[in-house]
């Protein structure tokens, strides 16, 4: 296979001003259980080559053939198109010859299907014992090996495993329904799932749903709000991470996931209060979005997206970096071998401050604590956003009060970040899969942050 990569690169680079070849092989498995019934298991080994060529424009061929003649045919089609006019900004640097691997103590291949099924059954049984009439549980894992080479001498090899658990459960009372979804993922082995106290997490969530289903809504109005790490995490992802992806700013995603409210703005641009700094960091070992080199062979590093309320560094792949005239910063990710690398997030989080949870609450006379969320969405420039609370309590005179049902934050990015006056010293991460690109690519990420306090936000 290494010989084949060399041969493909020789062929492509001799017919283009720059070429790169990436070979990726991913072995994956999954199992599902719904309302107590095991539905089935899947396994797959998927591999293939991505060959990118640069001439008057950029062409990419994706093929999983093992025949050089077949591969050549696909490359020739990409070469022919790249001979036509188009954009052709692409960083072509070499980032050396390196190999890396992420730590996995209990590798997916060392965990039997019986153990995986047993884990799913235990979770399902627990949910059933808690009175959850709707239960969906999925377990998945993957092990990936990737080799990236370009015509300027770069050769990067990486291997990593990922494990993930997804659940959705709900409580049905008459026609009322309350649901909770959970996603736990890590670039690691099954030791990650072993480290979670799922019994406590799920039991607590089910108890909250039971209370929330008959709770009253909130009286709409402006109030002080404390949000939990799950919400600060999704906000960091949606309204700091996405708008700072540089391909969106220059309009390349406009027809799909959209642009950015920062398009056309002079930077640094003030997005919020001094308290707010948002970081994207692929180097956090064990995080769901961890990698040492991205899928374009660029070394990853921590990036401040917002620093003290001002925009700081964009997320780049090779193409967007060249467009701006900067070096790529390790943000080029592909969800699988057969899709192009795009500027993507990894672990995006609001930087913690120095308040304890009690200190955040005690200074609120009449407000609300929204710990977690259910429905959310945001417009295509990442400005007008909505988060519906899953677990939430009124705050009266600095103390938590009654639980309330589905309070809604519907605000905009500047207003949200500008309303933050204090940030907790805690930091918690949550896993997710982030969608972008066409074909759509869901890449694993972590989102996180501390508890943060916002003054005078409209809640309904």
């Amino acid at each position: 296979m290494r010989d084949m990569i060399d041969r493909i690169l020789d062929y492509a680079s001799s017919r283009s001003s720059y070429a790169e070849v990436r070979f990726t092989e991913t072995e994956s498995s999954g199992a599902n259980i719904r309302n107590g019934e095991f539905t089935g298991a899947t396994t797959a080994v998927d591999s293939g080559y991505m060959i990118r060529v640069l001439n008057k424009s950029i062409g990419i061929a994706y093929t999983n053939s093992d025949s050089f003649d077949d591969i050549k045919k696909s490359v020739d089609i990409a070469l022919r198109s790249s001979a036509r006019e188009g954009k052709h900004s692409l960083n072509t640097d070499s980032f050396g010859k390196e190999s890396w691997s992420a730590r996995a103590l209990k590798k997916p291949s060392d965990v039997s299907i019986e153990e995986k099924v047993s884990l799913l059954k235990d979770i399902d049984s627990l949910m059933e014992s808690l009175g959850c009439g709707v239960r969906i549980n999925s377990l998945s894992d993957s092990t990936t090996a990737e080799i990236y080479m370009n015509s300027n001498g770069s050769r990067i090899e990486g291997t990593y495993s990922r494990v993930a658990l997804f659940y959705m459960f709900g409580i049905l009372e008459s026609s009322n329904f309350e649901q909770s979804t959970g996603e736990y993922g890590s670039t690691a082995g099954y030791e990650y799932l072993d480290s979670l106290n799922l019994e406590e997490i799920i039991s607590d969530e089910a108890k909250v749903l039971r209370k929330a289903i008959s709770a009253h809504g909130v009286t709409p109005g402006k109030m002080d709000v404390v949000v939990g790490p799950e919400i600060s995490g999704i906000v960091a992802h949606e309204s700091a991470g996405h708008p700072m992806e540089y391909d969106r700013i220059i309009g390349r995603e406009a027809a799909l996931a959209g642009e950015s409210f920062l398009t056309g703005k002079d930077v640094p641009f003030r997005v919020g209060s001094e308290v707010i700094s948002v970081i994207d960091d692929p180097t956090i070992e064990g995080s769901y979005g961890h990698y040492r080199y991205d899928d374009e062979g660029v070394r990853s590093r921590r990036r401040y997206l917002y620093r003290h309320g001002l925009t700081d560094e964009f997320i780049h792949n090779r193409e967007s970096a060249e467009n701006l005239g900067v070096k790529p910063n390790g943000g080029g990710r592909s969800s699988s071998w057969d899709v192009e690398p795009l500027p993507r997030m990894s672990t995006t989080f609001i930087e913690p401050g120095d308040y304890s949870f009690d200190e955040l609450i005690e200074d609120v006379n009449d407000g609300i604590y929204i710990k977690s969320y259910t429905e959310w969405n945001i417009d295509d420039v990442r400005f007008n956003e909505k988060y519906v609370g899953k677990e939430a309590y009124l705050i009266k005179n600095g103390r938590l009060g009654d639980i309330v049902r589905r309070p809604t934050i519907e605000t905009n990015t500047i207003n949200f970040y500008s309303s933050v006056d204090a940030s907790g010293k805690d930091l918690k991460f949550f896993a997710g899969n982030c969608g972008k690109g066409d074909p759509e690519q869901a890449v694993p990420v972590w989102m996180g942050g501390p508890h943060i306090r916002l003054r005078g936000l409209y809640i309904r």
Binding site: G48, A61, K87, L172
Partner: protein, 433 residues
Amino acid sequence: MDTVDRIYGYLNREGVRDIVIVRTRDETRQLRFSNNRKDLFNVWDEQYISLFGALGKRVGSTIVRPHLKLEPQLDAFISLLRKLPENPSFYGINPEVQDYSRSSAPVWEHPDIDEIAGRVIDSSVEAGSRRSTGVIYSRKSEISIKTEFNEHAYIHGDLEILVRAISDYGTGQESVHYGPDSIKEVDPEGVGREAGQTAALRLKSTEGRSGRYDVLMSPYLLGNIFSYCSMYFSQESVDTHLSPFESLLQKKIGPEVLTLHDDPVDLSGGGYALFDDEGTLTRKNTIIEGGVLRTFLQSYSTARRHDTRTTGNAGILSPHAWQLEIEPGTRQFSEMLSEMKNGLYVLNAWYTRFQDYRNGTFSTVPRDGVFRVEDGKVVERVAGIRINASFAQFISQIAEISRERKRVKWWEEISPSVMPYALVRDVEISRSF
């Protein structure tokens, strides 16, 4: 012996039943452009053999790599099946021999998508767009299936043209799909022009207000909502207690003007399929007829659970819609618009998310053409609003349906479908504070 036959023979000898082998060769081409210039040309050549099988009620699936030794891969799959618990809801794959004699699709020739993109961009700019961004796809897949009972193959081809036009006044978007029966109708200029014209409408933009409004929904917005909510018509969702229509079969769930089909045999759209995932011939199914819920979508297995027949919508374990079509109404779009006293006209939406999967309670964010209508005229652009609804209630609020329809398909937000314009009464609109 052919690889598929070898796989089948080996598994069969080892006692695996309900074998489904699908071989796919995908030769797709895509061109992406933004700011009126080509960004990237993508070409795919992928071959897969996917495999489903069961030992009794123990079911699993895998991907076979034909260039590697088959036996170890198949042994690993059989070993996996032996270790799995049973799926009590699995009743096998469809044993009925299918008559594929009239089921075929013409050969697909890739059009020049570079050239199509150029025509789309030029016409969009000519109509008033300052920046045009989009994607052109030509998909071609050779698909063959072999089961214990059936065997068939065809070539699937479709073309998709997506353009988003951006001017100093606003945005517009068109995203249409073509199958082999409509490929001669491809009109890149028309698609680009329509998006450009929407973007170029010189109207002032105002922040929207919360409240309840009559909303004239374009085929895109309707397509978005029905695409996301099509899961509620799957028997699997019903059985999981995740459908608001659980006990409403043969009951009225919408107005008389609403008739909804799933039509995978309409080869004018890109969402066609000649057989489902277990080899059953697909067919046009009427899901809602004159407002009455007529069927849930079934595979053989889900149908057996409910003593009915498959509708040709496998997903063996989880049936799904192929290509939704709402029957045309009697009204003209222009009449519907001109009769609107005070309401909204919304062309598209995205990021549809649910706070209550069981009852279908969702919100979605309008984009690419959101207008306030006063006395039958589009008077201003509206920004910053959100549509909030529950799907069952939403359906019942549909008051009028247009004669005109469009073949809409957009990214991951709208599945290939054929949708009209619809007037929906009393829709809850919220805005950001």
